[in-house]
């Protein structure tokens, strides 16, 4: 159950690529904290699971990094990596964007799914990658999340989804919107079988993802300070007459408002996942 394994096995190149598209400013040895401005020794930062040791800012993680801090070493087996985007609507510039992102990240989409173990408990896991169009949900994303639930259902395994998304993907129009209904229906069918669904909300978990399968988890854990809500900040700003109250829609605020079960520092998440999986992994003696 070591949480430190990820740093030793992570390739330097992958780490750099991740940081480039996330929020660190890599200059080799040193990394600047985007929140407090502190210049951090990169090795120390990585050892600290990419959490600023001055202000506790939780750096965004690319999907490989997230998997490394979350699942047992070497246990992840990817599913459905062959799914890729089709620009059905012939939306302007969409093809070019996708090609560029795929080349830069090595990803076909902002949702990476597969099977793994966590503390020895087998799970089906989905991890969002913000580098890929802000982790937005289009047809591929929705299909992967749906297959994730279906895999869990077929194998009677719990599901864990790590969210990091700006919402539905505009470039696929109504097809993207319908992924909300599709993934929510999949979560419903999965839940009816009495299987556990855990969600982790990282910064940001927004809009079409937040307002569909993400909020339907049995247990929701949030990383500190993550922005969580329906309306993007631009839309929210237009809709509000008053100024936003401090902490508005951040993890801690969402817990106070009953919408997440707990806010946990990155280092404490895996231990809690293991306890939850112990509680929910195998069927109980009484059932519906």
């Amino acid at each position: 159950m070591s949480l430190d394994g990820w740093i030793h096995r992570k390739s330097k190149a992958a780490g750099k690529a991740a940081r480039k598209h996330l929020d660190a400013l890599p200059d080799g040895l040193w990394t600047k904290c985007p929140k407090c401005g502190e210049i951090l020794f990169s090795k120390e930062l990585e050892k600290n699971l990419m959490v600023c040791n001055k202000c506790s800012y939780h750096f965004k993680l690319a999907s490989p990094q997230r998997l490394e801090v979350t699942v047992d070493d070497g246990s992840f087996v990817e599913m459905d990596a062959g799914l890729s985007t089709v620009n059905t609507l012939e939306f302007p510039q969409y093809d070019a964007k996708i090609q560029k992102l795929t080349a830069a990240s090595g990803l076909n989409d902002g949702m990476v799914t597969g099977t793994a173990t966590i503390g020895g408990y087998p799970v089906v896991i989905g991890v969002a990658d913000f580098r890929f169009l802000a982790g937005s949900m289009g047809s591929v994303y929705g299909e992967k999340v749906t297959r994730l639930f279906e895999k869990g259902l077929a194998e009677k395994l719990p599901v864990l989804i790590v969210n990091c998304s700006g919402g539905a993907r505009m470039q696929e129009g109504l097809l993207s919107l319908m992924q909300m209904a599709k993934t929510s229906a999949a979560a419903g069918k999965f839940g009816e079988a009495g299987l556990m669904y855990i969600a982790l909300f990282t910064d940001p978990t927004m809009a079409g993802v937040h307002a569909s399968f993400a909020m339907l988890a049995d247990v929701i854990i949030a990383e500190p300070g993550a922005l969580i809500g329906l309306a993007g900040q631009r839309v929210a700003a237009q809709a509000q007459v008053m100024k936003e109250p401090p902490g508005y829609r951040l993890s801690e605020w969402q817990q106070d408002h009953g919408m997440v079960d707990m806010v946990l520092p990155r280092r404490e998440i895996k231990d809690t996942l293991v306890k939850l999986l112990a509680a929910g992994s195998h069927g109980g003696s009484h059932g519906a």
Partner: protein
């Protein structure tokens, strides 16, 4: 309320005015101008047909938002009998942006639920411009579960610009409410027919729009984001809300496109010149479609109904797939 006139409707409105004037004159002066009137009316109808055959997605957006377009309660009054409106979510409040209750369709009890916009300024505020807060969606869910309890079909009428996303709505979990409704609707053990009658505004619409049949009026729009919002966000449109017409085209928000992508089942026709020119006529088309689909669904077993509904949404989406070594 006076008839509002969209830009592209102006030639029609002018002819309407001419016809009205001619009628007034012929009546006041006792002169028979019926031939002229008939010709003008024919001309007006040709013009309407011509204009409506070439509507852009943005034109349809404006039609879907037309201030004179019939709203859910207009349809409910026309299509159903003995509507008994039910209020409240039993949790926090009654949301006037969603209406719902028991009603009778051709003598059979159904639960009808719809987004509700307001006509004049005061009513618009009362209805929060048709944008629901969590309590609206939770009221809708309460009523849907009541219908399920009694084995009655559910009809939802969709017409909302978007869900409300004010402080209060976020505080009370607007995302949770939308998500839960979609999930619960996918599991309902009674027939659910959805009619998109105006604006199908993103998650705010989808929260009452998961059903066995999704019908959509020919001038309604259904979109993941309002065209203005899309234009304002994407560099493809220079982040300029004024380029909403281009975004509307790119987003493919019309009923034809939705049908083409198998996201809806059928387009409900509107009377000549749009629903706002003829409430009764519009309602007649909607009623016919709902009744016909309901009759079909009544024959399906509960198990198959829920299974088909799942599969219907399961199939939505377009992607490519290649086999991978790690698949």
């Amino acid at each position: 309320m006076a008839l509002s006139v969209l830009d592209f409707e102006k030639p029609i409105a002018e002819l309407d005015a001419n016809i009205a004037e001619l009628k007034r004159i012929s009546e006041e002066e006792g002169i028979d101008r019926s031939a002229d009137i008939e010709e003008l009316e024919r001309h007006r109808d040709d013009l309407i047909a011509q204009i409506f055959a070439n509507l852009t997605p943005w034109d349809k957006t404006l039609l879907a938002r037309h201030p004179n377009r019939p709203y859910s309660l207009d349809y409910i009054r026309t299509i159903f009998d003995d509507f008994v409106e039910l209020h409240g979510d039993r949790l926090f409040a009654d949301d006037n942006a969603i209406v719902g209750g028991w009603a009778f369709l051709d003598g059979n009890p159904v639960m009808v639920i719809g987004n509700q916009k307001g006509r004049d300024l005061k009513e618009r505020q009362f209805r929060n411009f048709g944008s629901s807060k969590p309590e609206g969606y939770r009221k809708a869910l309460r009523l849907m579960h009541m219908a399920e309890k009694f084995g009655r079909p559910i009809i939802t009428l969709v017409d909302t610009p978007a869900a409300d996303c004010s402080f209060g709505a976020e505080e009370r979990g607007i995302s949770e409410a939308i998500a839960r409704n979609m999930m619960e609707m996918s599991l309902l053990k009674v027939p659910v027919i959805v009619a998109v009658l105006g604006e199908g505004g993103s998650g705010g619409a989808l929260a009452i729009a998961v059903g066995d049949r999704i019908l959509m009026q020919e001038n309604a729009v259904y979109s993941v984001i309002p065209p203005e919002g899309c234009a304002a966000i994407l560099s493809e449109f220079q982040r300029d809300p004024a380029r909403a017409p281009d975004a509307a085209a790119a987003l493919k928000i019309t009923a034809e496109h939705a049908l083409e992508h198998k996201l809806i089942d059928e387009i409900i026709p509107e009377p000549v010149g749009g629903a706002h020119r003829n409430y009764e006529g519009a309602a007649k088309f909607v009623k016919e479609a709902i009744s016909r689909h309901l009759a079909e669904l009544e024959k399906v077993s509960t198990k198959k109904l829920v299974e088909h509904r799942y599969n219907k949404f399961r199939q939505m989406g377009v992607y490519a797939e290649t086999q991978c070594e790690n698949g």
